[in-house]
């Protein structure tokens, strides 16, 4: 197809504003997916995405649209996640596109992630097409929201299409707008090949498959391709697109978004953000790629069964192909044995990775409570980066500790500004700014320690604003704080995997809350188990898990065997997920206890 009839675009929006539903309708209207194969959120192919109703991975499809001008157009549509943790997925999608459809919920209006995604799109020089979704809701106020978009973002909304992605209302108009308002890719088919690798995954038969956006030139089977950053060269075996099924093509042309298979076995060779060129006529420069994301949150991941360490290593390597922001390196814990210190962009990212490892690789894992990276300045004048509380040097060797701060933009209805400010203060937030956005909403700007954000800020924010607030954050720098390491002792022994670094003034409350939470989570055993929290050698909180006295099924007659066995099977499954530390059996959840406790 002629390059001027190609449109590469993505859909960006705040979480739950209807990206994936709009993608569904577009696939339907263009007959890309047959009716009988259609299901909701078809591009969310991971079970995890479908269950949670969120998009985690970007997903690219090719479709053909027969426009009202009588011509066929080739669309490459990239669905993107909306949650702040997956911003890196969004930025990768954007680099592969020329335009973006901005979906805004006509009832909720512009939210924090709407702004964040728009700024990303503008950075990438994308043409943005605003669309108002959910206009069929009784609470929809399309005119108010249009004005909001114009005021806050500065986009002309006079021609913004008002749609209902759910019912399909006006989605046909969006397709026409894509044809007329979004640009076609600029590249040159005859120029040396430059293809941006924006994603990759591992296929057990074909090796590593790279997803590329071809910016110049072509790629076809038998081409010898070179990854410009790593220098690795491979012969292409197959190229193709997704519709969303995989379809093999003769070649990928400039402007195409598709996949390249070249029997790539070495995981290290394929880096997302790298440029592929053809070795016989190489491009002189790689494409600019995009900002590499650095992990903000670290935790330890350990197999419950120590013998599966190698399986975990392999699983992490494969997952990383598909998740460039994931970092990991080996670490050991006295309590948990051999595992990995893993870095994530946020808590949801951590949660998703853990769940994917458990499901897709059938691993049973223990995750330790998350930590940020602390800068520990020692008395000998050196600085150490610490992402694992148990690695914190002795107090006498520490001069001071710095922790990462983030700038938080919080959009909140006026009536919740008070409670929200209280919450930010309580989380050691430092007021920066408060702006009136419109008649009903304000934008609060705070500097906050990242450790407080990952702790329970999001849940607390939701409960104190009834879910009406949205927020976005970005790293702003390191600051000195008064921090201490808090240890947890079970049965008199420090369990290294339960240590945390806490703000000194919070230590007493957190220590108490942690002890109580652990008491609830750790099942009774045949002996009494003291649970203590300590700073240095000083015990700051204590409670006891009483000894188990009775665990027996009262009635057990002939007819009961099946039922009673089920009960025992359940106890057995629970036991399989426990880790023996010293003489105490600790369930997996206990290692994450710090996240679910209430210390108010």
């Amino acid at each position: 197809m002629d390059q001027k009839n190609v449109r590469n675009f993505c859909i960006i929006a705040h979480i739950d504003h209807g990206k994936s539903t709009l993608a569904d309708r577009i696939l339907e209207l263009t007959d890309t997916v047959e009716k009988r194969e259609m299901k909701d959120q078809i591009l969310d192919s991971m079970d995890l995405e479908r269950e949670r109703g969120i998009t985690i991975k970007l997903n690219a499809v090719q479709l053909v649209y027969h426009a009202k001008d009588g011509q066929d157009y080739l669309f490459h549509l990239i669905d993107t996640p909306g949650h702040v943790d997956f911003t890196y997925e969004v930025s990768r999608s954007l680099a592969a596109c020329d335009g973006a459809i901005l979906v805004v919920d006509a009832a909720q209006g512009v939210q924090a992630q709407t702004l964040a995604n728009v700024y990303l799109a503008l950075e990438n020089d994308l043409e943005i097409l605003p669309v108002l979704n959910k206009v069929d809701l009784p609470s929809a106020q399309p005119e108010v929201v249009k004005k909001e978009i114009e005021d806050l973002i500065g986009l002309d909304c006079s021609e913004a299409v008002e749609i209902s992605a759910k019912s399909g209302l006006n989605v046909d108009k969006v397709l026409e707008e894509i044809v007329h308002k979004l640009p076609s890719p600029k590249g040159d088919k005859e120029a040396p090949t430059q293809a941006l690798v924006f994603d990759s995954f591992y296929d057990s038969y074909r090796g590593i498959i790279a997803f590329v956006s071809v910016k110049n030139g072509t790629i076809k089977p038998k081409d010898k391709i070179r990854f410009m950053a790593t220098g690795a060269e491979y012969e292409v075996t197959e190229v193709g697109v997704r519709t969303p099924k995989e379809v093999v093509e003769d070649q990928l042309n400039c402007g195409d978004v598709g996949w390249v298979s070249a029997a790539i076995k070495n995981i290290e060779d394929v880096r997302v953000g790298d440029t592929i060129t053809v070795a016989s006529n190489p491009a002189s420069e790689p494409l600019s790629g995009y900002r590499e994301m650095h992990p903000m949150v670290y935790c330890g991941l350990y197999p419950v069964d120590n013998a599966r360490y190698d399986d975990l290593k392999e699983a992490l390597s494969k997952l990383k192909l598909n998740d460039a922001a994931l970092h990991f390196e080996p670490e050991t814990s006295q309590a948990l044995g051999f595992g990995f210190r893993c870095g994530f962009l946020g808590l949801l990212h951590m949660d998703v990775v853990e769940e994917r490892l458990e499901r897709e690789y059938n691993l049973s894992l223990i995750a330790t409570s998350p930590s940020v990276i602390y800068h520990v300045y020692k008395t000998d004048g050196t600085m150490e980066e610490i992402d694992n509380p148990s690695a914190l040097p002795e107090p006498q060797k520490v001069d001071h500790i710095e922790e990462p701060y983030v700038k938080c933009d919080i959009m909140v209805p006026k009536e919740f500004v008070g409670p929200m400010m209280d919450l930010c203060q309580k989380k050691r937030g430092e007021y920066v700014d408060l702006q009136v956005l419109d008649d009903v909403r304000m934008m609060m700007v705070y500097q906050m320690p990242l450790s407080e954000i990952i702790y329970d800020f999001f849940d607390k924010m939701k409960s104190c604003t009834k879910g009406y607030a949205s927020f976005d954050y970005e790293f702003s720098g390191y600051r000195t704080s008064s921090l201490v390491k808090m240890d947890i002792l079970l049965n008199g022994q420090i369990v290294d995997a339960l240590s945390t670094i806490v703000f000194r003034d919070f230590a007493y409350n957190r220590g108490n809350a942690m002890a109580v939470k652990l008491k609830d989570l750790i099942p009774k055993q045949q002996f009494e188990i003291p649970v203590q929290a300590a700073i240095g050698g000083k015990i700051i909180a204590r409670t006891n898990i009483k000894a188990l006295r009775k665990n027996v099924l009262a009635k057990c007659y002939g007819g009961d065997i099946s039922r009673k066995k089920k009960l025992l099977e359940k106890q057995k499954e629970g036991k399989k997920r426990m880790k023996m530390v010293g003489s105490v059996e600790i369930p997996q959840e206990a290692f994450m206890a710090v996240l679910s406790m209430d210390d108010d």
Partner: protein
């Protein structure tokens, strides 16, 4: 020969708050069909010899004498132990005399408590006095082998309440007691109305008191929930606990033939239309061996290791060496048998789970 048979009578006059067994308020529409299908089911096996027979429910004593007789007559005349579960409100002297003439030689009476307030909480329809009267009738009927059921750990029940129940029990000279801690089953009225379970420490204290007091009074604690005077073991229940086959007849019954367990349909409608519709539960030998351990360790007789090794083609002491070591302070050995001491019985589930962890 299959030594034992259980007949499930799924009808009740009213539904008790703790119960989640297959039971239904008696209704005429299904009754005659049910009886016909039950008799058919039993007769198919042409049983000529039976060691123990047990009518449970539900409430077998809600059956009319005619119905009872026609079901009973499907079995041989001479049965070593023939138990009928009864509720105080549906048993009278006349019925008792008829039971005796039909060969019933053991009654299991659902008393549950001698405290009228707690009986109301359980939605029982009898009073403490009624229960005591029926116990006297049983004793006068010539049935000297009988048992009562009691429950402890009921909502708001205190330690004093338990002591009074045990005291009353002891004053009535009853040879057998089955005493259960309340389990809040999801499908019972207690479960559906969100009744809180008893504090585990209080429950443990109650049970400790019960065991101590009954043993001091000369009762043998021969199974976790069962106490008896010497010689008054429930032979029928021992068949379950000692890994024997047994027939299970009727809607909602379970049985075991040639070591393979089966469950009959729990739908009365289905039973009336199509009969038992038994589902067989195929288990590998190792699994059946585990069932045997699970049941045998409930009793003070324990598990006969030599027999188990032969039957399940395994080496018990070797296979479970880690578990036996882990809980060595709870296990006792006597001859070929292994059994748990009192403290071990209390945490039987914890121990069984560790047995199950060994594949």
């Amino acid at each position: 020969m299959v030594p034992s048979a259980y007949v499930h009578i799924p009808f009740c006059d009213s539904i008790c708050a703790y119960c989640d067994f297959v039971r239904i308020q008696k209704n005429e529409q299904f009754f005659s069909l049910w009886k016909e299908k039950l008799i058919q089911e039993i007769q198919e096996y042409k049983i000529s010899n039976l060691h123990t027979l047990y009518f449970g429910g539900g409430t077998p004593s809600v059956l009319s004498l005619d119905d009872f007789t026609s079901i009973r007559n499907c079995f041989p005349k001479d049965i070593d132990e023939f138990t009928v579960e009864c509720n105080p409100e549906s048993l009278d002297e006349e019925k008792l005399a008829s039971y005796v003439s039909l060969g019933v030689n053991r009654i299991s009476l659902g008393v549950q408590s001698f405290n009228d307030d707690l009986l109301k909480v359980c939605r029982r329809r009898h009073t403490s006095n009624q229960a005591k009267k029926v116990i006297r009738w049983i004793q006068e009927s010539g049935i000297h082998n009988f048992s009562v059921d009691l429950i402890f750990g009921l909502p708001d029940q205190t330690m004093e309440d338990v002591k009074r129940d045990i005291f009353t029990f002891l004053s009535l000279d009853i040879p057998h007691l089955s005493i259960y801690s309340l389990q809040i089953e999801e499908n019972s009225i207690f479960g559906k109305t969100g009744v809180e379970p008893c504090d585990p420490d209080l429950e443990a204290d109650m049970f400790e008191y019960i065991t101590k007091t009954l043993e001091a009074a000369g009762y043998i604690h021969y199974e976790i929930s069962s106490f008896c005077k010497p010689g008054y073991y429930s032979k029928h229940n021992l068949a379950y606990w000692q890994d024997k086959d047994f027939y299970g007849f009727g809607c909602g019954a379970s049985g075991r033939l040639d070591g393979i367990r089966y469950d009959n349909t729990t739908s009365l409608k289905k039973y009336c239309l199509k009969g038992p519709c038994s589902t067989y539960i195929p288990e590998p030998l190792s699994e059946r061996g585990m069932d045997a351990i699970m049941m045998a360790l409930r009793t003070k007789f324990g598990l006969n290791i030599r027999e188990w090794n032969l039957k399940y083609q395994n080496d018990f002491k070797n296979h479970y060496a880690t578990v036996l070591d882990m809980y060595r302070e709870y296990f006792c050995f006597e001859g070929e048998c292994i059994y748990l001491n009192d403290a071990g019985l209390e945490i039987l589930n914890t121990i069984l789970v560790d047995f199950m962890m060994i594949e």
